[in-house]
Symmetry: C2
């Protein structure tokens, strides 16, 4: 039988893993914010710094996965603890990818240094909503907050709409000045990167719901998932 | 102590999981091949069928993850078995995403139904190399073949080059006929989707190396990783 001491150490390890995943989330949040700031204020130094810092995100991903493996070996977790571990493995992959996408935005920012950034409003709107989604997904994970996770899932459609609007607006600029097609494609890539970051935020929320409730709602319509979860209360 | 009977059942379960992951890989391979065939031969029925079949890929992803969780609960695997399980969790995520990307190609194929597809050669070349990479990544996983995994990693640079060439070629078509910018952007998205599928094939190979050797070579330069692995032989 596990002693009280063993149980305490196990809890410490799980909390340690959670802290590391959230620390990774914090680095990723910062990278996204900096990438859009670098783009919109043409801060090339910030863009380069953010690209360099992606290494810290990668290193922390590897550390989190190693910690997960050690906990699995030493503690053989079950039930909710195991679901937390499995979620951590998935979430860490999403976070690392979000870091890559922020680095892509920075690379585009550097290429776009001399270029007028239009539509600024569309990108600003997307950027704000996406950052809010990421921050709320991480909060939902930190607090195990199902309602917040469901809110993030419900809001993803708004990001997709903003993306399509921004993309169409960029298309009109291309038609007006075909010689500028290439930089405008870079801008549309930035919009696409933001949209993908939003998708990863929803992946995190799906894992929060799996972790807390044990339902795997990936590939389930979000409204159906909400009804399923309400039915339990 | 585990009995011979228990060990046998554990091995059966691990083999069962491996078969399921490879079956998922088979569905994804087929989806990628069909998506490019649908695009290049304008087979809209095949495009729609492939989009519909993405649901089977999603369902198998969920099944694989559930099987993984059950093995972790019942068997508490260690060492190489645990690394296999962790790899399976990661690989399944990559495969599901590759399926999504194939479905995106199909959606673009449908939108491009009436449009001349240029540069056909560039897309064909990318498509063939990417399919070869995916197939070899799955072979490397099936056989635990480190050398094959390293070959796939080394070849990813060729896909990136093909992508950049294809993209630049598409750009010249846009400059020639700005009224066709929108369909050409769709074509460049297809090239990007193929390039991303190639990246996921390399992720699978990194997991094969982790599974067999215990080295986590993600975010390590591929040549440095090759030297590291040779040093052990």
């Amino acid at each position: 039988m596990p002693t009280a001491h063993t149980v305490k150490r196990f809890d410490d390890e799980l909390n340690g893993l959670k802290s590391q995943v959230l620390a990774l989330g914090g680095l990723v949040e910062k990278a996204i914010a900096n990438s859009m700031k670098a783009l919109l204020t043409r801060d090339m130094e910030l863009a380069r710094l953010t690209i360099n810092r992606d290494r810290a995100i990668n290193a922390l991903e590897v550390q989190c996965d190693e910690l997960t493996r050690r906990i699995l070996v030493l503690r053989q977790p079950a039930a909710g603890d195991l679901r937390f571990i499995i979620s951590a493995i998935k979430v860490v992959t999403d976070l690392e990818r979000m870091g890559d996408l922020a680095a892509h935005i920075c690379k585009n920012a550097i290429k776009l240094e001399e270029m007028p950034i239009r539509p600024k409003a569309g990108l600003l709107g997307m950027s704000e909503l996406v950052q809010q989604q990421v921050s709320r997904a991480l909060d939902a994970m930190a607090r195990g907050d199902i309602d917040l996770a469901m809110e993030v899932l419900a809001k993803d459609a708004a990001i997709d709409e903003l993306y399509h609007g921004t993309y169409r607006e960029i298309l009109t600029y291309m038609l007006e000045s075909p010689s500028q097609i290439s930089p405008y494609i870079m801008l549309s890539n930035v919009a696409k990167n933001l949209e993908r970051i939003g998708d990863h935020a929803t992946n995190i929320c799906e894992m929060v719901i799996y972790m807390i409730r044990g339902h795997d709602i990936r590939h389930v319509d979000h409204e159906a998932a909400a009804a399923l979860l309400r039915g339990e209360e």
